[in-house]
């Protein structure tokens, strides 16, 4: 049982790390600001979700696991809101002066 849980953790955390890699490469390689934002926001939040999913079996107790889920939900909510606002600024081409 523990072997299966451990291999689940390894698989999920590795997949999450891959999505972080994809997000970073996209942030570096994509041509304009909006597509960079698209790469960053989606890939990184999926990566964080997979890392969190992989760590769930290692949490001691239901409450600790629930807390991990809430960290992810907070990051999702914040980045969904922030990416809309940053996209509006990037589209206007405005820079804070």
């Amino acid at each position: 049982m523990s072997f299966f849980l451990d291999s689940f953790t390894v698989a999920a955390v590795s997949a999450g790390a891959f999505f972080f890699l994809a997000g970073s490469v996209g942030l570096l390689r994509f041509p304009d600001a909006l597509s960079r934002l698209h790469a960053l926001t989606k890939a990184d939040n999926l990566g964080l979700g997979l890392v969190m999913l992989g760590l769930l079996p290692r949490a001691d107790g239901l409450l600790a696991a629930l807390k991990l889920v809430f960290v992810w939900l907070l990051v999702l909510l914040a980045s969904a809101m922030v990416s809309q606002m940053v996209a509006r600024v990037a589209r206007r081409g405005g820079s804070p002066s």
């Binding site: 960079r36 990051v75 820079s95 804070p96």
Partner: protein, 95 residues
């Protein structure tokens, strides 16, 4: 298992450092802010991994705080971009 989680945290740190190249290259301030957003998301993941590897439950609290502060930083950036301080700080007589 702990070593694997620490290695994954190190890999994520390298990815965050790679993303910070965008801070140097720009070209817009929005691009730089995206890199800071990556720093927030990646930092939360690194904290969760380290907390699980070293069995430090308090790291989850730090991750929550970092997520909140990263969101506030981005909101502050957008506020300063859409309502520049220089407008509201102008002297009433236009000087």
């Amino acid at each position: 298992m702990g070593y694997f989680l620490l290695a994954a945290a190190g890999f994520l740190l390298v990815m965050m450092a790679l993303g910070m190249v965008r801070i140097v290259r720009g070209p817009e301030d929005a691009d730089r802010m995206m890199s800071a957003q990556l720093l927030g998301t990646g930092g939360v993941a690194v904290l969760l991994l380290i907390g699980a590897a070293e069995v430090v439950p308090a790291a989850v609290d730090v991750a929550l705080t970092l997520a909140l502060l990263a969101a506030f930083a981005s909101v502050a950036f957008v506020k300063s971009a859409t309502h520049p301080l220089s407008d509201s700080d102008k002297e009433p007589d236009g000087a």
